[in-house]
Symmetry: C2
Subunit: 474 residues, 2 copies
């Protein structure tokens, strides 16, 4: 079925000449590692991996791949959660690991210009030294790369106040499969010169072009952060409190929802417990406020705590020090790992209007119970993004596949009926692409396909991702 | 050259049947009004104007137009500044004036759902009653429509803190020329389900689809605003102070640059003067800070004033009341009208990295002086967006055309060399489209054309806008 060309020894030789022999991998074991990301249990089989050192080398690799009609899958930190970096059709893995320089931190204009292989946390630390802030904070920020963040339009807890990756990308250099180098946007806060190609490339999951340079907007670093936990007697109470917080004019910098089941699993995983008030609650909000002045933020934290009590919280726990806040966050951040430790699972990264979170969770309870499976769910209550993890537990692999095949579309249909969508921040990749027609109509899908065709007429960039097959999959 | 069909009496009859006879205009004088927007002196000649009352009627109008291959130009408030609503090839003007309902103000989720004909200020006033805020504030906010704001990705002074129209549009219903109705996005703060069609439609200047419903993110209303004016001895001093303000961690909600010449013209126009300290200064910053708590904002205003003095301001004037602030803004807001009152002019809506503003203004001084013309320039110093108005003054129309033909490309080349772009917030429309190759390369233009082709294969939506002709214009 694949119309792709093969990676021949001659092509590998040419790739060695382009990027240098030390930067071409052909060892099967090493390639196997580059065939995975953090998505459950996917394993791709690339034929070769290259690590170009500059844009010109990326362009030459893409020209060669186009000539030979060989798939190219760009790879950053490999921490994606939808299979975005998994090479489904073999071909070339193009690693950005050598293109990992922060090219500029422009303190006059408040922008950073970086290569795609820069680790997100590295950038955040670097700009923080100048009192600047790059807010997007995916859970994997210590190991994910900016290029991958751009490809997936990464999110994180702080998006509720600060927005998503797309809100910070103002300029891109990217290479088309033809080898042509695009330069779009720049250090510009306003730019309406033509269609928004920058925004279109962000979140395109490596299917349109390979990003080689990113211009990112920076903002002043909030110098003070306070962390609170507010346990509530029910999910409904916690979720409706979130609405009340925003209506009161407070925009928390994080607003995470921890339902009891997920919280317990995380506690077990890290071997540390939350305070009893939180452990016993049906649902807890983990909240942060931030700002420039210590006294303002302290007062905001007190006001937010008071408000939570008025809105039905059983209690409010204010972290007494940054160390105490880190402890609370450590449990929250362990949730992804804790879920993994439960054994095989499938994650749905749904997003709904935030007031619909209780209904969404009840719908998921209902669907999973009917299919006899458990789910562990948690997420970003402030922005309506929930990570729903359905667990295989004792099911046989065959039964599990059958349950997922039935359960997944049911969950997404229920979410879409609530005004929600398939993915909030992890991307569609390969694991969710066959669900796309549940959310996008035929015209929307046709337009997405036409855009793909315009950028990548041979379909060599990250095949099998984002868009469903045109004919229904067998 | 035009391959468009004619608007026949039979088509007009059919349009009357679709939208109702009262909502079809054929009177030449009324049509002449609908052939203009606020762009200098353009006059289009539509054959007919229709005002559909609902999405189904818009879809039917577009189906008919596609069948007959007749151009369709969507029209909101008609206040655009790049000719976006001017029907260059005749055809149908599709007015959204009847689709002017605020469908929902969702206080739980903080979104508004509106029809495209809602006036921006009307929406702002409506949400303000609930303590909510829709920040984008183009100068014409009292008469421009949300649909037009979406088409042009409108900006305004508050963008420096709050972002542009695209940052607030999370969902769209839009009709393709085929009559198919797209529904993309929703009341979602995070959505990475497929390519970003919402962001692509924003700023597409009516060339891809006709927007029929808009979902807009709202935020808590800042309850307190303070206004300051800080006169500086030079443009450089004022511009570098802007960088210093952001580096100090203060994000003003407005940061406008008033150069002396433009300021004097505005004073004359409104017949009121700024205080003497401001009148004598080479350049003045008009600044605002806002927030939830009176005492915080007052303190921010004092701190900002102190900082301006440290950064070289000759003086700082703090508006003592909302009425006083309105007086200062009245002069600033009069600038557009004051420029118009000078006689024929051509506006360039350039955008540069903000630290480059002094260089940009010097470059424009140099180019215009060389061509023997004056310019009046002012703009949004905080986000680098300058409105450069080149005045015809005593030049003959022929000489004026010749000067513009030489001057425009020179200005844009100089701006692009500074990392800037052709348009920050007014759009490309017809007046700047032939300048596009100075900013976008062949690959970028080809991609834009392919996107246009995917949405509008017959090219009936707003022909002659945004993209330059493929063959060089004669």
């Amino acid at each position: 079925m694949s119309a792709y060309g093969s990676v021949t020894p001659a092509l590998i030789d040419t790739l060695r000449a382009v990027v240098g022999p030390d930067h071409v991998l052909t060892d099967p074991e090493e390639l196997a590692v580059l065939g995975r990301d953090f998505t459950e249990d996917l394993q791709g089989r690339p034929d070769v991996a290259v690590a170009p050192g500059c844009t010109a080398e990326v362009a030459e690799v893409l020209r060669l791949a186009s000539r030979e009609r060989v798939p190219v899958v760009a790879r950053g930190g490999g921490t994606g959660l939808s299979g975005g970096a998994v090479p489904l059709e073999g071909g070339i893995v193009l690693s950005t690991r050598r293109m990992n320089r922060i090219l500029e931190i422009d303190r006059e204009n408040l922008f950073a210009v970086v290569q795609p292989g820069v680790i997100t946390q590295t950038l955040q630390d670097a700009v923080e030294e100048f009192g600047l802030f790059y807010p997007p904070d995916p859970a994997s920020k210590g190991s994910c790369a900016i290029g991958g963040n751009v490809a997936e339009c990464a999110g994180g807890p702080r998006c509720v106040k600060y927005g998503i990756t797309r809100d910070y990308v103002t300029g891109l250099e990217a290479v088309l499969p033809s080898g042509e180098v695009l330069r779009v946007g720049g250090k510009l806060l306003k730019d309406v010169t033509g269609y928004d190609l920058v925004g279109l490339l962000v979140g395109s999951e490596g299917t349109l072009a390979v990003v080689t340079e990113v211009t990112l907007k920076l903002i002043p670093l909030p110098r003070r952060v306070r962390t609170l936990m507010a346990p509530f007697p029910s999910l409904e109470a916690a979720a409706s409190a979130v609405g009340g917080i925003f209506q009161a004019g407070i925009v928390p910098s994080c607003c995470e929802l921890l339902a009891r089941a997920a919280l317990r699993v995380a506690e077990e995983h890290v071997g540390r417990n939350f305070p009893n008030e939180v452990r016993e609650a049906e649902a807890t909000l983990l909240l942060e406020v931030d700002g420039q002045r210590e006294e303002d933020v302290d007062r905001d934290a007190m006001a937010l705590g008071e408000l939570c009590l008025q809105l039905g919280a059983d209690d409010v726990l204010l972290a007494q020090s940054p160390a105490h806040a880190r402890e609370l966050w450590a449990i929250r951040r362990a949730m992804g790992e804790a879920v993994k430790a439960q054994g095989p699972y499938r994650e749905y990264d749904v997003s709904v209007p935030r007031a619909r979170i209780p209904e969404a969770l009840r719908a998921i309870d209902e669907v999973t119970a009917r299919h006899g499976v458990r789910h562990l769910s948690y997420g970003h209550a402030g922005d309506g993004n929930l990570h729903v993890n359905v667990l295989r537990d004792g099911l046989s692999p065959e039964r599990w596949e059958a349950v997922l095949a039935a359960c997944g579309p049911e969950i997404i249909r229920r979410i879409v009926a609530l005004g929600g969508t398939i993915s909030g921040e992890h991307g569609i990749g390969c694991v969710q692409r066959e669900l796309m027609p549940l959310r996008l109509g035929p015209a929307e899908l046709r337009l997405c396909r036409a855009i793909k065709q315009a950028f990548d007429p041979q379909g060599i960039l990250n095949p099998g991702k984002l868009l469903p097959d045109e004919a229904p999959a067998s």
